[in-house]
Symmetry: D2
């Protein structure tokens, strides 16, 4: 079984036509798994729906505790990209016996041009095949938690040399 | 480097507004990798654009020869789902030293509801992480070439018990 | 009030992933009006879901009778493009006191590249503003029923000179 | 000929993946006319790409001057919805001999769920059929410039009773 934890991020942002800004309503994960005709044994749990810049230490603690409590060693987490490495670090320092794949999207799933559906496919595959550890899955690749950073000028993840 | 071979299948079918039928024009693979902000080192080569029910022994021979000649041990092949297992069998019987991930789509990529983009993400991930062998990647899962079949009534791939 | 009659056509065709062919399941009209934030007083009635090449004289009689019975003089009909002019002719010969706008799509609405949503917007506007008569609404234009034909090589509607 | 003036608004907003905010890059009007298989004689001119809350008196003057100078009496203007009525008022007070249809979108065209393509279809139809005057075209309807307001709580346009 693969546990999917939803925490928000660009992935799940929607357009609020009253205010003209982006906001969270619900996760799109279930619909995406349907569209992918996904036939993995998955469980989706929404821990929070937050821009990762707004995450508090309590939020990260909740993610950590949820991963520890999960009854499987295969976990996928959707997360905002801005602080995804920070959360990955907390998880890696405290969990050694699970494969945790964190992913996000550069563009919200509700946009036609979103990368989120592709990233979800990659992340579920990595969760099934990578050895225990904490990984960031973006751009079709996986990165080890301790040698990746988001290059905010270019909007991409890259290996820290 | 990951070699991507395009052979057609539902994945790349388009709607022909003159005849009202589905046909092939070009592959969508390059656009999909762009949309996925893919940063893998990939090479895309279109071997053919065919419904897999129309594939001849010569077509399968071309796929086999192309895989053998590929200068990498990581290969993703897009292929129609109806005879994908047949081609997988030919590849598996002749190639032992490469990871070959075959994938397709239940619904054409040009439909809003296609699973193809998700499958592409999974397949690229599996190609990076699975040991040498030939696999079918569908529904977020991978199947070994020798214990999978397409259930044509349900439109799904399933393990042969 | 605008009466919308659904008869099928390319507009409402979907992809059947079991057979790999196009088929009809349900009309998409209601969802499209929602997406358009449409605030017209409309009533949608599905008369049939057919490729217009398969329409029988009885089918056309049903469309005619439904238009005659409609409790409004503003009617939009979605219809396959191949025989839309034939049905328009029957309606025009029998109904003089209503504005009937017939429309369709070159590409099914379920494809990302469909023209159907645009055509629906045009057709509802024409139904509100054109004088009594029977019209074909395609390509952002309206055509009088008696000087239009579908150019099947080009896949467009054009004025008969 | 129908002159289309682009001024920005929600219609043309895109997602900036670097900053996570909405911004303007280019208008989508030309692509939309292509997707609609539009066969009207149109000319598209981008006057500005602005959120209508940021429009200055000089911006509105430019729109007015452009409408006056247009060599046709059929004009469609895409415009942000927040101050569309204000610009409509300026145009109506100064132009009497043209049909000017102003429209926008509640949701950006780059979102799958945008109403913009529908509104564009309606607006082009209204521009061909309504008598001289200034109109707001939204929700499948048209409103006279002098009895419409945007209800900002509901995000809809409604008649001023």
């Amino acid at each position: 079984m693969i546990q999917i934890f939803v925490t928000g991020g660009t992935f799940d942002k929607e357009y609020d036509m009253i205010t003209g800004t982006l906001f969270f309503k619900d996760t799109h994960l279930e619909k995406l798994l349907d569209r992918g005709h996904c036939r993995l044994d998955t469980n989706i749990k929404t821990l929070m729906l937050k821009d990762s810049l707004d995450m508090t230490p309590e939020d990260r603690k909740l993610i950590l505790d949820s991963c520890i409590a999960a009854q499987t060693d295969k976990i996928v987490i959707t997360h905002g990209t801005d602080t995804i490495v920070k959360t990955a670090t907390l998880l890696a320092e405290n969990i050694k016996d699970k494969t945790i794949v964190m992913t996000g999207a550069m563009i919200p799933i509700k946009f036609g041009s979103s990368d989120g559906f592709f990233n979800l496919g990659s992340s579920l595959a990595f969760a099934q095949t990578l050895s225990h550890g904490v990984y960031i899955s973006m751009h079709g690749r996986y990165f080890n938690w301790n040698n990746v950073r988001k290059n905010k000028e270019k909007g991409i993840f890259e290996v820290v040399e």
